[in-house]
Amino acid sequence: MKQVKVLVLSGNGINCEREMAFACEAAGADQVDIVHVAEILSGRVKLADYHFLNLPGGFCDGDDLGSAKAQANRLRHAPISGSEQSLADQIKAFIADGKLVLGICNGFQMMVKLGLLPAIGGTYGQQSMSLTFNDGGRFEDRWTYLAVDRDSPCVFTKGLERLYFPVRHGEGKLVAQDSATLQMLEDKHLSVLKYAEDDGVTPTMEYPLNPNGSQNAIAGLCDETGRCFGLMPHPEAYLHRTHHPRWTREELPDEGMGLWLFQNAIQTIREEIL
C-alpha cells in the first residue's frame, strides 16, 4: 500500500508543530515529518515528496510586521538551494498537483497573505483578503462554537456540522478587499466555518461568541478545490476529551472533534491522491 506522507512546517516562531504532527499521526498518516523551514531552503527536504502540507500556528517572526507577514515574505523571496523557485512557488505547484494544505491560526494568516486563500478563480498568489487586529484590540484565548457550511467543497469538513475549538489570537478578524469578494465567498461556499452561537448553527457577530469581529463571522476559508483550507481556531487543540474545557462535567467521547478534520484529510489522500 502506498504511504500517506505529511510535512509539518516548523521554525522562526511556529509553535504548534508537535500537536499538529500528533494529530496527523493519530488520524492515520503513515509518515509525518516536522521539517524546519531551513531544511527546505537548503534543498535537503523536498516538498514535492509529500501529500499533505501542514502550516501550524505560532508567532512567526513575532508577527512583527503584522501577523505572518514576515514569514510570507520569506517564503516568497528566500531562495531554495539548487532551485530557481521560492518555497511559495513550490507550494503553488503542490496545490496545482491537487495535494492538501492546512493552515491553522498563524499558518492560516500566512496562507491568506500569500494569496493561497481564498484564491477565487484559481488566482493563487493574489491576496484578496486579510486578517487584522481583533475588534477588542487584544490577544484572547477562548473556546468558540463553529458552524460548518455543509455545502462547502472543503474536504476537511466533509460530513461535519458543529465544532468547538479554542481561538488563541490577536489578529483574527477576517476582512475582504471588497464586498464582491465577500459575496463570492458565500456564493461558492468557501467560508467554511463561522463563529456561532452555542447551538453551533447560527453565525453571530456578538462578542465574545465571535471573538474578533470577523466579517460575516468567518472563522475559516477554503479554496474552490476544497483542498486548501485555513482557519483561526485550533482543531489540533482538541484531540482528546481532556482538552475540552468542561471534560470534568460533560459526557464526551475520548476522541476530540479536532481529529475529525485530520481524519478527513488523510482519507481524501488515500482515496483520491495516492
Partner: protein
C-alpha cells in the same frame, strides 16, 4: 540617507489599536479624546534604490487589503496633534530587526553593520491641542522615557506632504575600547567610593578582600606571566562584583546569622540559612525517601530536576524580575519570562519547555494617592507587566497555565514579578548520557549562541542587589526577543540530540562573566577572547562585553571535533554562534582582548573569595490584638464585598491574554466550570500527547501574614501550595517544592535600622520552610531570592512585606482522575474537610474591615498530610465531583465560587462545619484556617467518601441545588447569606473586568 516609510489603515478600516489607546487613556489618565488613530513608521537607513524601498513598503511592510503606505512622505491627516514614539539608541527594536530581515530577503544581501531599520509609532489625536497634556500622555502613558523618545507636533506645524524628518536612533560611538587599571591601595572611604561609582554593590569587607588579594606578591608574580601589572583591571573588578553580587552569590542566604528569640531568650548562630534549612530539608527528605527519592538534580544547576517516569524528567525554575519591572514593566516582565525560559532550557544537557507560571504582586491599580518620584503608577505597572508576560509566553509558544496577582499598597515601592518555567527532558540523551547531568571538558570550545552583545543590561546583577534609588541605571533595562530565542532553542535541541556538546548554560545575570565562569569550574579554568564576541554596535570596552546581560544567549561547551558542524548548522538555521575560546585546567579565569590579557584571576578566588557576611537577627513579635467587630444579622453584603476584593476577584481579563493551551497539554485550565470562567486551584498538564500521565503545578503565597509572624506566612504559603496541588489531583507522594524569597533588605545598616527584625523574619520563615517540607516529605529542588526590595529616594522608604512564593510541582498518574472546583450537578452533597479555628488574623475579612488581627492561621502537618493523602485516594476512586481549596475569604468565598462556577446553587449549614470549640458566625464564614477543602460528592458515592474520611475532621454541610442561589444558614437555622449566583458572580467579575 534614511527614508521614512509610513503605513496606515485604509479609510473605513477599524483601528483597534487606536481605539484601545483611546479607551486606556480614559482609564489611566482620565483623559477623554474624540479619536485616536495610529500609523506605523519604518525608518530605513540603508543603501537601497527607490524601487527597493517601494518594494519593501508594498511588500512586507504593508497589507494591500487593509493598509496604505507612503515612502518618504506624510500619511497623517485629520488630526489635531500627533505624538510619535520610537526607541532610544541601542534599545532592542524587535520589529526593526524583522523589518531588516524582510528587506534582506527581498534584495538578496545582508545589511552592513551600519545599515538598519528603526521603527516608531505615530499616534494621531483628535480633540487634543494642549501641548502640556500631550507631553503628559507621551510621558505617562504612551512611552517610557528610559527606553523611548517622542516627538509632539501640532497640526499647524506638520508638513502634510513631507511629514516628519527622518531621525535615526543609531548608536554612534567613537570610543576606542580600552582597559583601565584601578588602584585599590587607597583608604576605606575611597574603596567604598569606587564600589558606589562603579555600581559594583560591593561592601567594605569585600572591597578589602579584593585589596588584600591584589597586594599578595604571589598574585603579582602570576600576573606578570601574562603581562598584567600589580593593579586590578576594570574587567577583573567587574568580574568579582558580578560573581560576588547578592544576585549571583546569595550572600544573605549564605551569611552567618546571630539569631535571638526575645520571647524565649534563646540565642543561636546559623551558618547559612540556605545550607541549614533549604539544602538541609532536601537532604533529610531524600534520605528518608530512600529508593522512592524522586530528585535527580537539585540546587546545582539552573533549575531543579525530578523524575516524571522511567523515560522522562521534569525540570522547574521560578525567577523574579522585580527591579527591571519597576523601571520598565513591559521590558522587565518580557525579559523575565524569556529569561526564565533559558533556565530549564540550560539545565543538564537541555530540556523542552512545557509551560510558564507567573505571579505578580502590585499595589492597587486604582491607587489614587501621590506617588513618590521615579515610581510608575501601579496601573501602568500592571498593564506593562501583563503585556510583557503575554508577549514573552505567547510568542515563545509556551502556555501560561498557572498564576495569580496579589495586591498590597507596599508593592508600589517595588512590584514583584515572579516568572516560572517547567520543562521536560529525556532521562538519557541519544549517546546514553544522563540528560540532567553535564560537564565541560578540558579542550571544549566556549561557544556563545544567540543574540549579540550591546550595552544593555550592564550592571543588572549588581542593580538588583540594591534598592531602587535615584541613580539606578537605565542600561539595566532591556527588552527580550522571543523570536531570536526560539530560533536558538530550535537549533540547540538538534545540537543536543546529535551529541555535539558537553555542557550548556544560560547567559543571565552577569552575562559571560558568570556563565563561562561557572562552566569553567568543571575544568578549573578557561581562556576566552572577548574580541571574538559579536557586537550590536562598535565601541564596547572589554569589561562591558564580559558583563553585558544582552538577552537570548546561551553558552555551550562544544566538543572540539564537532565545532565545524555546530557552527554550520547554526548559520543555516539563522542563529549566530561564535567560538570564543576554550575550557582549560589552568586554574585561571583568563580573558583576552585582541591577544592581550584583560583578566587573570584564580578560579578559587573568584568563586570562593567572598567573605561571609555576619547578620544580626532579633525576633520580637509585634504587639497585636484581635479587633472587636459588632456581630451582624446578615453577611450577604460582606460576601459580595469580599468577592470583589482585588485579592479574590476574577483575573479573567488577564488570564485570557495568555495562551494557556498551546502544545495541547492543558487538562485543568486556569478557568473552568459551566461557562469556562471559574477559578481553578491549580493546573494539570499532559506533556506527552500519547500518554495520560500529567504534571500538576500550583503555588501558595500570603505576604500579609508576615505582619504577624513570617513563620506562619511561610507555613501557610507552603500549605496553600500543597492544598491547591491536591485539590486538582496532584499526588502528594510524588511532589517537589520551589521557594522564591522576596524580602526587604534585612541587613542592619544606617539605611535599615530595623534590619535585625527583618532578618529574624527571614530566619523564622526558613525555620517554617524546613519544618513543613520535612513533615510533608516535600523536597525543595531549586529557588531564588531577591533581598533588596525597597524603594528609597529622599526621606521616602517603602519596603515590601516579606513574601515567599511557594511553588509546587509534581505528578498525577492519570489525568482523567483530575478534579475541577465547579459544582457538577444538583443533589451532590457538599463536604468540608479540616477544622476551622478562630483564625482571622491577616484575613481578607479583617482587611476589608481595616484590621490586621493577631490570630494567625497555623498549619498542623500531621492532620493535613493525612487529609491530603485521603483526598488522593478518593480522587483515584473517582469519588469526588468537585474540590476547591479554602483560602482568601474562607468558607464563604470558596462555597460561592464553587456554586457560580458550576452554575448550580448550594444550600449549606455552616454550624455543621468541623471545628474545635465554639465559633462565631464570622469565624465560621471567613476564618482562613489552613488545610481545608470544600468537596462535592455524588449522592451515591457519599457512603464510600465518608468511610474514607472516618476519624478525620470531615462534615457534610449541605447540598448542591438547582435553584441558582447560595443560601448559608447558621445555628438554629438562622439565615446568614442569601444571594443569587448572578449577583455573586457579578461582584466577583466586575472589579478587574476592564483591565
Amino acid at each position: 540617507m534614511a527614508v521614512r516609510i509610513v503605513v496606515g489603515l485604509k479609510p473605513g478600516m477599524r483601528d483597534a489599536r487606536g481605539e484601545r489607546v483611546k479607551r486606556e487613556l480614559k482609564h489611566h489618565l482620565g483623559i477623554e479624546l474624540e479619536k485616536v488613530q495610529t500609523l506605523d513608521v519604518y525608518t530605513v537607513d540603508a543603501d537601497l534604490t527607490e524601487a527597493q524601498l517601494e518594494a519593501a513598503a508594498a511588500g512586507p511592510f504593508s497589507d494591500p487589503v487593509i493598509q496604505d503606505y507612503r515612502v518618504g512622505g506624510a500619511l497623517a491627516s485629520d488630526f489635531d496633534l500627533l505624538i510619535e514614539v520610537g526607541f532610544r539608541p541601542g534599545v532592542t527594536d524587535n520589529v526593526g530587526r524583522t523589518a531588516r530581515e524582510a528587506i534582506e530577503y527581498q534584495i538578496g544581501r545582508s545589511f552592513t553593520l551600519d545599515e538598519g531599520v528603526y521603527t516608531s509609532v505615530q499616534y494621531l489625536f483628535s480633540g487634543l491641542d494642549d501641548l502640556g497634556q500631550a507631553e503628559h500622555i507621551a510621558r505617562d502613558f504612551l512611552a517610557n522615557g528610559l527606553i523611548q523618545r517622542w516627538t509632539i507636533v501640532a497640526r499647524k506645524n506638520f508638513d502634510p506632504v513631507k511629514g516628519l524628518e527622518a531621525t535615526v536612533p543609531k548608536v554612534f560611538s567613537d570610543i576606542q575600547p580600552e582597559v583601565q587599571e584601578i588602584d585599590l591601595e587607597v583608604s576605606e572611604d575611597r574603596l567604598m567610593e569606587i564600589s558606589r561609582e562603579g555600581m559594583l554593590a560591593l561592601n567594605l569587607e569585600e572591597m578589602q578582600a579584593i585589596q588584600a588579594f591584589i597586594k599578595d606578591t604571589a598574585t603579582v608574580e602570576a600576573r606578570k606571566t601574562v603581562g598584567l601589572g600589580d593593579k586590578l583591571t576594570d574587567a577583573e573588578l567587574e568580574v568579582l562584583a558580578q560573581t560576588w553580587s547578592e544576585h549571583c552569590k546569595h550572600k544573605i542566604f549564605s551569611a552567618k546569622i546571630q539569631y535571638t528569640d526575645e520571647t524565649t531568650g534563646d540565642k543561636e548562630e546559623i551558618d547559612s540559612i540556605f545550607k541549614t534549612y533549604i539544602v538541609g530539608a532536601t537532604k533529610d527528605i531524600r534520605k528518608a525517601m530512600g529508593d522512592d527519592d524522586i530528585c535527580l538534580s537539585v540546587f546545582k544547576d539552573n533549575a531543579g530536576v525530578i523524575e516524571f517516569n522511567d523515560e522522562w524528567s521534569i525540570v522547574f525554575k521560578v525567577e523574579t524580575h522585580n527591579s527591571p519591572s519597576a523601571l520598565d514593566p513591559y521590558g522587565g516582565a518580557l525579559t523575565g519570562i524569556v529569561g526564565v525560559n533559558r533556565d530549564p532550557f540550560g539545565t543538564g544537557m537541555g530540556a523542552r519547555l512545557m509551560f510558564n507560571t507567573d505571579v505578580f504582586c502590585f499595589a492597587s491599580p486604582f491607587y489614587d494617592k501621590p506617588l513618590p518620584p521615579r515610581l510608575l503608577h501601579p496601573r501602568r505597572i500592571f498593564e506593562g507587566v501583563v503585556e510583557g508576560v503575554e508577549h514573552g509566553g505567547n510568542k515563545s509558544g509556551v502556555p501560561t497555565v498557572n498564576g495569580s496577582i496579589y495586591f498590597d499598597e507596599r508593592f508600589a515601592g517595588k512590584p514583584l514579578v515572579y516568572c516560572g518555567t517547567a520543562a521536560i527532558m529525556p532521562k538519557k540523551i541519544a549517546d546514553g548520557r544522563d540528560c540532567h547531568e553535564k560537564q565541560a571538558l578540558v579542550g571544549d570550545r566556549i561557544v556563545m549562541v544567540g543574540g549579540r552583545i550591546g550595552k544593555d543590561g550592564i550592571h543588572g546583577a549588581t542593580f538588583s542587589s540594591e534598592e531602587l534609588h535615584e541613580d539606578s541605571p537605565v542600561t539595566a533595562v532591556q527588552i527580550g526577543d522571543p523570536i531570536t530565542q526560539k530560533r536558538m532553542f530550535d537549533f540547540l535541541t538538534i545540537a543536543r540530540d546529535r551529541g555535539w556538546y558537553n555542557a550548556i548554560t544560560d547567559n543571565g545575570a552577569g552575562g559571560l562573566s558568570s556563565s563561562v565562569g561557572e562552566m569553567g569550574e568543571d575544568t578549573n579554568g578557561f581562556e576566552m577572547h572577548l574580541d571574538r564576541c559579536p557586537l550590536k554596535y562598535a565601541g564596547l570596552h572589554p569589561w562591558e562585553i564580559l558583563i553585558s546581560e544582552a538577552q537570548e544567549r546561551m553558552t555551550v561547551a562544544v566538543k572540539p571535533d564537532c565545532l565545524e558542524q555546530f557552527l554550520a548548522l547554526a548559520t543555516e538555521m539563522g542563529v549566530e554562534a561564535s567560538d570564543l575560546g576554550q575550557f582549560t585546567d589552568s586554574g585561571y579565569y583568563h580573558c583576552l582582548y585582541e591577544g592581550k590579557t584583560v583578566a587573570y584571576l584564580p578560579m578559587a578566588f573568584v568563586h570562593e573569595g567572598v567573605p561571609q557576611m555576619q547578620i544580626p537577627a532579633v525576633w520580637q513579635p509585634p504587639q497585636l490584638s484581635e479587633p472587636k467587630l459588632p456581630a451582624q444579622s446578615d453577611y450577604t453584603d460582606a460576601v459580595k464585598e469580599l468577592l470583589g476584593r482585588l485579592n479574590i476577584c476574577s483575573k479573567e481579563s488577564v488570564v485570557r491574554r495568555y495562551d494557556h493551551e498551546v502544545q495541547a497539554g492543558s487538562v485543568v485550565k486556569p478557568l473552568t466550570g459551566v461557562a469556562n470562567d471559574g477559578p481553578s486551584d491549580a493546573a494539570v498538564f499532559r506533556p506527552l500527547l500519547d500518554s495520560m500521565e500529567g504534571v500538576v503545578v500550583s503555588h501558595g503565597m500570603n505576604p500579609r501574614l508576615s505582619d504577624i509572624d513570617a513563620y506562619h506566612m511561610m507555613a501557610n504559603a507552603f500549605d496553600e501550595g500543597m492544598r491547591n496541588y491536591v485539590a486538582v489531583g496532584g499526588n502528594v507522594d510524588h511532589v517537589a517544592g520551589l521557594d522564591n524569597f522576596c524580602w526587604c533588605d534585612p541587613v542592619l545598616s544606617e539605611k535599615t535600622p530595623d534590619g535585625p527584625y527583618k532578618a529574624a523574619q527571614l530566619v523564622r520563615a526558613n525555620k517554617a520552610l524546613y519544618q513543613y517540607c520535612v513533615d510533608f516529605g516535600v523536597p525543595l529542588i531549586s529557588g531564588k531570592d531577591s533581598m533588596k526590595n525597597d524603594y528609597m529616594i529622599g526621606d521616602t522608604k517603602i519596603s515590601i512585606p516579606p513574601t515567599v512564593l511557594f511553588s509546587v510541582i509534581g505528578k498525577i498518574d492519570d489525568v482523567q482522575t483530575a478534579c475541577t472546583m465547579d459544582a457538577k450537578r444538583p443533589g451532590d452533597k457538599v463536604y468540608l474537610l479540616g477544622n476551622t479555628y478562630d483564625e482571622l488574623g491577616g484575613s481578607e475579612y479583617y482587611a476589608l474591615k481595616g484590621e490586621l488581627g493577631a490570630n494567625v492561621p497555623k498549619v498542623d502537618s500531621t492532620s493535613a498530610l493525612l487529609r491530603y493523602r485521603t483526598v488522593n485516594k478518593a480522587q483515584s476512586q473517582s469519588l469526588i465531583a468537585s474540590c476547591h481549596d479554602l483560602s482568601d475569604g474562607g468558607l464563604a468565598v470558596a462555597i460561592a465560587e464553587t456554586a457560580f462556577a458550576g452554575g448550580f446553587g448550594i444550600d449549606a449549614d455552616v454550624s455543621k462545619i468541623p471545628s474545635e470549640g465554639k465559633l462565631s458566625c464570622v469565624q465560621r464564614l471567613f476564618s482562613e484556617s489552613a488545610s481545608r477543602l470544600l468537596i462535592t460528592v455524588k449522592a451515591e458515592n457519599a457512603p464510600a467518601f465518608e468511610a474514607l474520611f472516618a476519624g478525620q475532621p470531615c462534615a457534610c454541610i449541605g447540598q448542591v441545588v438547582t435553584e441558582e442561589k447560595l443560601t448559608l444558614i447558621g445555628e438554629g437555622g438562622k439565615q446568614l447569606v442569601s444571594a443569587s449566583l448572578d449577583e455573586l458572580k457579578e461582584a466577583w467579575q466586575a472589579t478587574l473586568r476592564e483591565m
